[in-house]
Symmetry: D2
Subunit: 298 residues, 4 copies
Amino acid sequence: MVGVKLPVLDHGHVMLVDYMGSDTRVEEVARLSYNTGGLTGGGTSTNDEKGRTLRDTRGLLRYLLRHAHTSPFEQVCVTLDMKMPIFVARQLVRHRTQKLNEVSARYSVLPEEFYVPDLSQVCVQSDTNKQGRGEVLPLEVGEAVRENIKQHSENGFRLYRDLLERGVARETARMVLSLNTYTHWCTTWDAHNLLHMLRLRLDPHAQWEVREYARVISEIVRVWLPLTWEAFTDYTLQSVRLSRHEWEVLVQSLDREQVARLLSLGESGGSEKLSLREKREFLARLDTVSSPPFSREE
Amino acid sequence: MVGVKLPVLDHGHVMLVDYMGSDTRVEEVARLSYNTGGLTGGGTSTNDEKGRTLRDTRGLLRYLLRHAHTSPFEQVCVTLDMKMPIFVARQLVRHRTQKLNEVSARYSVLPEEFYVPDLSQVCVQSDTNKQGRGEVLPLEVGEAVRENIKQHSENGFRLYRDLLERGVARETARMVLSLNTYTHWCTTWDAHNLLHMLRLRLDPHAQWEVREYARVISEIVRVWLPLTWEAFTDYTLQSVRLSRHEWEVLVQSLDREQVARLLSLGESGGSEKLSLREKREFLARLDTVSSPPFSREE
Amino acid sequence: MVGVKLPVLDHGHVMLVDYMGSDTRVEEVARLSYNTGGLTGGGTSTNDEKGRTLRDTRGLLRYLLRHAHTSPFEQVCVTLDMKMPIFVARQLVRHRTQKLNEVSARYSVLPEEFYVPDLSQVCVQSDTNKQGRGEVLPLEVGEAVRENIKQHSENGFRLYRDLLERGVARETARMVLSLNTYTHWCTTWDAHNLLHMLRLRLDPHAQWEVREYARVISEIVRVWLPLTWEAFTDYTLQSVRLSRHEWEVLVQSLDREQVARLLSLGESGGSEKLSLREKREFLARLDTVSSPPFSREE
Amino acid sequence: MVGVKLPVLDHGHVMLVDYMGSDTRVEEVARLSYNTGGLTGGGTSTNDEKGRTLRDTRGLLRYLLRHAHTSPFEQVCVTLDMKMPIFVARQLVRHRTQKLNEVSARYSVLPEEFYVPDLSQVCVQSDTNKQGRGEVLPLEVGEAVRENIKQHSENGFRLYRDLLERGVARETARMVLSLNTYTHWCTTWDAHNLLHMLRLRLDPHAQWEVREYARVISEIVRVWLPLTWEAFTDYTLQSVRLSRHEWEVLVQSLDREQVARLLSLGESGGSEKLSLREKREFLARLDTVSSPPFSREE
């Protein structure tokens, strides 16, 4: 997958440049903390040689993410080459944990590449989501909007080139380009911070264009760290956080027999999605209405 | 509260040195993002002058923490002076987001101060918690343990002073001191990262001695940022995170009428802990078994 | 100075919102490390009460910056409210050590404010500086350039409002605005990282518009931390770094007697800019052609 | 070199676990910023294929470090496995830019391994360096000191095991171990922050034991990034920083003809260490007594 430009939007891409580490490396780093194993290096050793199995690795990674032990995921990293509209870059740059080198319009002339949203993405302002979009606009309105955006962007690039020809400094001329102009950067992330960014940017409240980049990066992570991605999906991405009050209401509204039936503790044919250990932990939580950790000490 | 040493353990303390910002500042920073208000500065303006109320501030702070919009909490900060055993310092230093200046045993001679656990904290290794402690040991064992720790620590300080008297460099002599020796530092935190540290260190799985420091720092935060602390308690500290599979089991085991009764939607006398908006959001979540955000788009 | 908007460029500003700590706090934090003093808190104590003088504080701060002991400067911080063109914001956001909350054009409609460079800043591309500007363009060219930039920016805002009126979502409509549109943010810095940013952004190679913001922020720091600013000027901002080879050439080309004369060691009437201690350190360096630190151990 | 434990001190080591990127990757990332090249990925392409030479790479890397353009060096990284005394770990942990996972003495029992300084490192407190050591102590004193340290450390481990046998929790028992006990961690660094740490920890003012770790890590970097290491040595490690006042004295004490002779501008047989471009830049600096960048604008 290294070196392949995965297309995003009309002119953008995400390309995997390089990566270091794997699901197994994360496991080894965690085992160093617990002193139940250690690091070898170079990725030459395999689980088999160590008498551990894929099932062990999977179980440990799930344990780590379930209990928010995220530091081992910081020790593997990935470098991506990305091209995206400036308004997308402006959102992504806020994740201060990435390393970043972006093309400079002070050093070089930007190529005429700008984003025009597809008709399916020319939508009305959402009523319910103050920062988002709602229904698609009627076809003829959408087409007019696309045409307007395209023409204004072309005008911007025409003026940009014109200013450069009149001798104006690049750093000054570029200020007339609009926020849909494409920019280009190289970025390095550790897996923990990359997953954190993906959780925020895959959220339906994120702008659609940013989610598109998050979606394609997710596909890269799924191939690079398949067991980590699976655990991340179950314990973070699709997890549900309930406030203290919501939890109190839920716990008082449960049909305990139905819970037990669904968990089918110890029986065959039951839910295979939760491990025995997770089922026990889950039932124990139902019996404890949460309370502030330090109140117990007072 | 500034300048008062709050005691922790047998010789330690936490002292509030200074702070910048308040609940209101967090609100103002958030309103700048939404363009529904702005910053004044100096803490001179009050809510009243702006036609906003304590209730507005409280509502906004709760909204921010409920939706994990944490960046405004990074713009207020606090400086603490702390004295703690080195093994506690070694755990706290891992939070890389704090600013830290610690006394150097290369520059100066450390005073003879070391931690000896109280009898109530001389406990057996926990069976269930691999990293924690269980029941208190019998009185006579506990007393012997305390005496052993005390004597060995005193021996360490005796050798330390002896080495110094023989002319050995401070940086070499200090290596015989044990991990229960007290150290001293000054640390500055922004509120978001401080709360994150507190959540981890107030957890019952954290070592008891570290939890003691977290407890005392929490008391400072409760006075400094009362509305933030309240929201943090409800939406983070005492919140419950359920995995995808746990949530599926729960949603299928709910007595919906009981939920409605407990929420007492629109009626007086109902739960006053959840705002109307939160109740609506909560009910909506019950009807959606979570699914990966981007699968909806495919 | 708190709460005053200092104007920058045609529509921008920098406003001091709040600060924590002072030159004296930096000194106190450093003395804690050396165990030669400690923290009090609240800024109530003064140097006089501690038997220290302004001269002591000044001397210690200069020592810290001369020897790159920068961590005490991280324990004081400042919050600024800034309005600047997006292309300036895009450069400043790269300093990942600041806390940042920016107005969101997804939540609210941006006011029609854009930057048009003054005639004195409409310059040609520099020949010698690939990323900078050179001579001012002839008056009539400059006026035409300004007019073109102004008209294109107005066209952008006209289209922006038009798209909004047709119902297009804010997050989509804003992409037609150009990079000279003003944005607005609140930012918190610790002094060490702020000074580091200023050093880079006051450099003549930085874009003039960014330097203008750095210049105004410098004025705030000069008032807030006068002794720190003085030491920073002498030991960092106006310091000179020489490579190994440059230093070898210089040391072999010195008139030692002239150096001694200029330093006027021990005499009255000599240079008062270097302390006696600095003079000694300086002379010692001239006698040692630098070599790799660890080669000495081999 | 991957997977080889390089010994440090009496029981420690540094082992290269993995790395990502190379000198060429740093060059590619920098060229992306200047838009004069780009990323390929996977390290498959070579300079030859791109028509660039080793000389080009070397020149660009030297340019980057000479002008403190350090961000491209953040995009390559390295993972190390290290074993070191706790007092060394306590110093290294302060570099907050590394990723770190350390063995936990709450989870597992530490093996009896502690550091006893070699006779050549049992030294007196330095008179001139408040934080360092001076001359070696007489042989019989040194031997006694070593024996004392060894016995006290053994006593600590005996008590540690004894407490564990009596059932005391691991997290409590470990507090009697002394600061020379070995700990073990896995750490990931980007090259920029690793070089920054090395510059500080190779300094003669750093504690000798820490310098030993820095020295061994330097050997790894020299093999991994040979051109980067060479440029770092010339422009950072062995560079000299002069304050404003020192520079003023130097510039007024130079024999300009001697400088020109040593540089041998344009002639054969001259200094080959400075490129023509560097010579020009150097001479230009001699003619400008530095002044505050923004004073020119006032």
